[in-house]
């Protein structure tokens, strides 16, 4: 059964209202959290916090890795008028950190992501990709050629 928990502002286990419904919970095969920021140290500490929270909640952590940073460079003229040969270069570095969680239920994912997102540091953005698992619909289970009897009619 789906357990809907409305978490309060501060901690998970503080003043939570839990309602139980009959619909089956969503199952996620993989939840990928990609965090990006300008400062590598901030991402380091956030990764430590997220992995610690996942361990405390009993979530299986898959890979925690660092995709290569992306540098966006601009070359502009240094002077307001003429001097084409003298330019100034600026760059914007985006560092990434990726945390993959495997085999997680919908409720746990919702609570964990809400906790993680409420504590996102400023200047850091997060992208979440969820891969859900669904039961195969019954009409696809058996291949079609087994049910339909073969017709021996010559094709026109």
């Amino acid at each position: 059964p789906l357990v809907v928990a409305a978490a309060s502002r501060f901690l998970l286990f503080f003043l939570m209202q839990i309602t139980v419904t009959e619909e089956p919970d969503m199952l996620f095969q993989k939840v990928v959290i990609l965090v990006k920021g300008h400062d590598r140290a901030v991402l380091d500490s956030y990764e430590f916090f997220a992995t610690m929270a996942a361990k405390e909640l009993g979530i299986t952590i898959g890979k925690v890795f660092e995709p290569p940073k992306a540098i966006e460079r601009l070359t502009l003229l240094k002077s307001i008028h003429i001097f084409k040969k003298h330019r100034v270069q600026y760059e914007m570095r985006t560092h990434y950190r990726c945390i993959e969680l495997y085999n997680i239920t919908g409720c746990t994912a919702q609570v964990y992501l809400e906790y993680i997102q409420r504590n996102l540091p400023e200047g850091v953005a997060m992208e979440v990709t969820k891969t859900a698992m669904e039961k195969i619909p019954d009409h696809i289970l058996e291949p079609l050629w087994k049910e339909i009897p073969t017709d021996d009619k010559p094709s026109q």
């Binding site: 990006k36 920021g37 300008h38 400062d39 200047g123 953005a125």
Partner: protein, 154 residues
């Protein structure tokens, strides 16, 4: 005096004639006689930003794949001028602006030039005015010092 005028070199104030105009002058303090106090922020040049300095304005719009950078920049400029004007002469250092979700957090270090009641009033006034203006909760976090924190003298 006339002799000085005759022997004085002709130095026209035309920018493009001198190679020193090709030097970078942005956000840099040039070395002087040693009597001018300078804070940590001012003493380090912009190329030290991710290494010895932090960021004064923290938001996600300059990351790769994010947008609305220009709007954030304009808001920042307005907030800096506004706070500089309301707390005139009281600012010890540059303002740090942080955006977390919807909340705009303005952190400033002030000098103890005004009595605390006036400070509280100005803080409340800034917060309410900026929140109404930007339609988001604006928080002002202020710390006070006796004097400016001097890093070195240039």
């Amino acid at each position: 005096y006339l002799q000085n005028k005759k022997t004085a070199k002709f130095y026209p104030s035309i920018r493009f004639l001198y190679p020193s105009c090709h030097r970078n002058r942005a956000a840099r303090i040039r070395v002087g006689k040693g009597d001018r106090p300078v804070t940590y922020e001012q003493a380090h040049h912009p190329h030290h930003i991710a290494h010895r300095k932090g960021w004064l304005s923290q938001h996600t719009s300059n990351l790769k794949g994010e947008d609305r950078a220009a709007e954030r920049t304009i808001e920042d400029v307005f907030i800096r001028r506004f706070v500089f004007g309301t707390f005139h002469g009281c600012l010890a250092n540059e303002i740090v602006i942080k955006r977390r979700g919807n909340v705009l957090s303005v952190c400033a270090v002030m000098l103890q030039k005004l009595p605390p009641q006036k400070f509280y009033f100005l803080i409340g006034y800034t917060e309410s005015l900026l929140s109404h203006f930007y339609k988001c909760p604006v928080k002002l976090e202020i710390q006070t010092l006796q004097d400016k924190a001097v890093y070195k003298y240039l």
